[in-house]
């Protein structure tokens, strides 16, 4: 291990962390905003509406993110004249825009299924009670179904956040210098892959550790009734050993 090289490379790689975080945060927010209506379409009783949402989810989940990203970034070049005429070329020639678009479309599809599962898992009694007190459909969703569904979706959504942090690494293939991109650059200049991998890997692991701890904390905060239960469980698990 070449510690001098590591000391030199560390600040360069750390400087790319905001790019990675920005890519993940922006596309997660946009993706979530898309996923909620898509999930509502998925649970719709109208079969064609549900089929459209499922078709989207199926297509995105069945193809690699790398293909989607290349299709958007390099593929749009083939229709340059069209995009220029539509005034959209400034967006599509920008790697940032294309990376965020691809990541957003991808996380939207995965999150749709997570949120759909959570909406369907809301206990029927809650909805019946809301109806019994005369809530309208929208009020029911806003006050009862959505908050409960979010609470139920949280653990799975935490995994999705971690997958997205990892997925931002693909942006390096379309010229964006985030953590993996910078790491690759340094590796191909110095031919010291192990040292650089240790730094970049540790950065990703720390981001993901912080994410998973935060999700656990938010889960406890949102489920006060489960805090006691959790305490009991850890005690009994310890006793079992």
């Amino acid at each position: 291990m070449d510690f001098d090289l590591m000391r030199e490379a560390f600040p360069k790689i750390i400087a790319a962390v905001p790019t990675t975080l920005a890519l993940a945060a922006i596309s997660l927010c946009l993706g979530f905003a898309l996923a909620v209506p898509l999930a509502l379409m998925r649970v719709s009783k109208n079969r064609s509406i549900s089929a459209i949402a499922y078709g989207y989810v199926y297509i995105i989940r069945s193809t690699p993110l790398l293909v989607q990203m290349f299709l958007i970034y390099y593929g749009s070049g083939q229709f340059r004249a069209f995009f220029e005429a539509a005034g959209l070329w400034t967006f599509f020639r920008d790697a940032w825009f294309c990376a965020i678009l691809a990541l957003t479309l991808s996380t939207a599809a995965y999150s749709t299924e997570i949120i759909r599962g959570a909406i369907q898992a809301v206990p029927l009694g809650q909805i019946e009670a809301a109806r019994a007190v005369g809530m309208s459909g929208f009020l029911q969703f806003r006050r009862i179904v959505f908050p409960i569904a979010m609470r139920l979706a949280l653990p799975a959504y935490g995994n999705e956040i971690i997958l997205m942090v990892k997925s931002t690494s693909l942006a390096s293939t379309i010229t964006i210098l985030e953590v993996t991109g910078v790491a690759k650059q340094i590796i191909s200049n110095t031919y010291r892959p192990v040292e650089i991998f240790v730094i970049a890997g540790a950065i990703y692991l720390s981001i993901n550790f912080i994410v998973s701890r935060s999700v656990t904390l938010i889960e406890l905060w949102l489920n006060p009734h489960r805090r006691a239960e959790r305490g009991v469980r850890t005690v009994s698990a310890a006793a079992g050993h």
């Binding site: 069945s62 193809t63 293909v67 593929g75 990892k166 390096s172 993996t180 191909s188 991998f197 990703y204």
Partner: protein
């Protein structure tokens, strides 16, 4: 969009793309097999009584699942190349450049990643086997190896099947990442076509459709396999 580019023969790129698709399937299959092997070993480690083995299993799954696959590929590609060169130099006095074996690197990287996800699936499957089954096997005097072969593995395989279907999907999609180090699978074949015809959309769309077909077919295969594996199970 010129679809004749996707035809067969000299003018079209269908031959190249098909070869790429076959390479994708071969890499994914080898990596999946390696993943099952690694997953079984580490699942056994995580389920063992020894804390050191448990720790080893935890470290492996945490690191591999927490770090981007692309980063692992760069590590193995550049690291493996350097290692091969130094071995060739010290053992045979060879000075020239050695092309890193991208196929082996691809199988290794994707396999290690698939192994981490398989570890969790296999561990959960083993834990799902009712204790009574193992106790009954012990009661009739089966040796541990026989118990493993006749009772544990057949039942764990059935419980693991849906999860392994997901792992297969990840594996198949992850093979596209190997294109960045030059293995000619679907993505690389499409990139080569896009580069020489200046029609990137046509080629990446072809790659997109090829992956869609591969995942849909294998999805159906796994559903059939699940039906077959559960044919003797009482439905509740």
């Amino acid at each position: 969009m010129d679809l004749t580019l996707l035809g067969w023969g000299d003018a079209g790129w269908a031959d190249e793309l098909t070869r790429g698709a076959i390479m994708t399937i071969v890499v994914a299959t080898c990596a999946f097999a390696l993943g099952i092997l690694i997953g079984s070993v580490f699942a056994a480690a995580k389920l063992s009584r020894f804390w050191s083995l448990k720790l080893l299993g935890d470290v492996y799954t945490t690191v591999v699942r927490g770090v981007p696959e692309l980063l692992i590929i760069f590590l193995v590609f550049f690291g493996g190349g350097a290692l091969l060169r130094s071995i060739a130099n010290s053992l045979f006095g060879f000075e020239g450049y050695i092309e890193p074996p991208v196929f082996a690197i691809g199988v290794l990287c994707i396999g290690v990643s698939a192994g981490a996800y398989s570890t969790e699936v296999i561990r959960a499957a083993v834990l799902a086997i009712p204790k009574g089954q193992i106790e009954a096997a012990k009661a009739v005097g089966m040796a541990p190896a026989l118990r493993l072969r006749r009772i544990l593995i057949p039942q764990a395989a059935r419980y693991a099947l849906p999860g392994m279907g997901n792992v297969w999907q990840y594996t198949l999609k992850d093979t596209s990442l190997i294109s960045v180090v030059g293995l000619v699978e679907i993505m690389r074949a499409a990139a080569v076509g896009a580069g020489s015809t200046k029609e990137p959309f046509t080629f990446y769309l072809a790659a997109f459709v090829l992956f869609l077909v591969l995942t849909s077919l294998s999805n159906r295969g796994f559903i059939r396999a699940e039906q077959w594996a559960n044919r003797g199970v009482r439905s509740q």
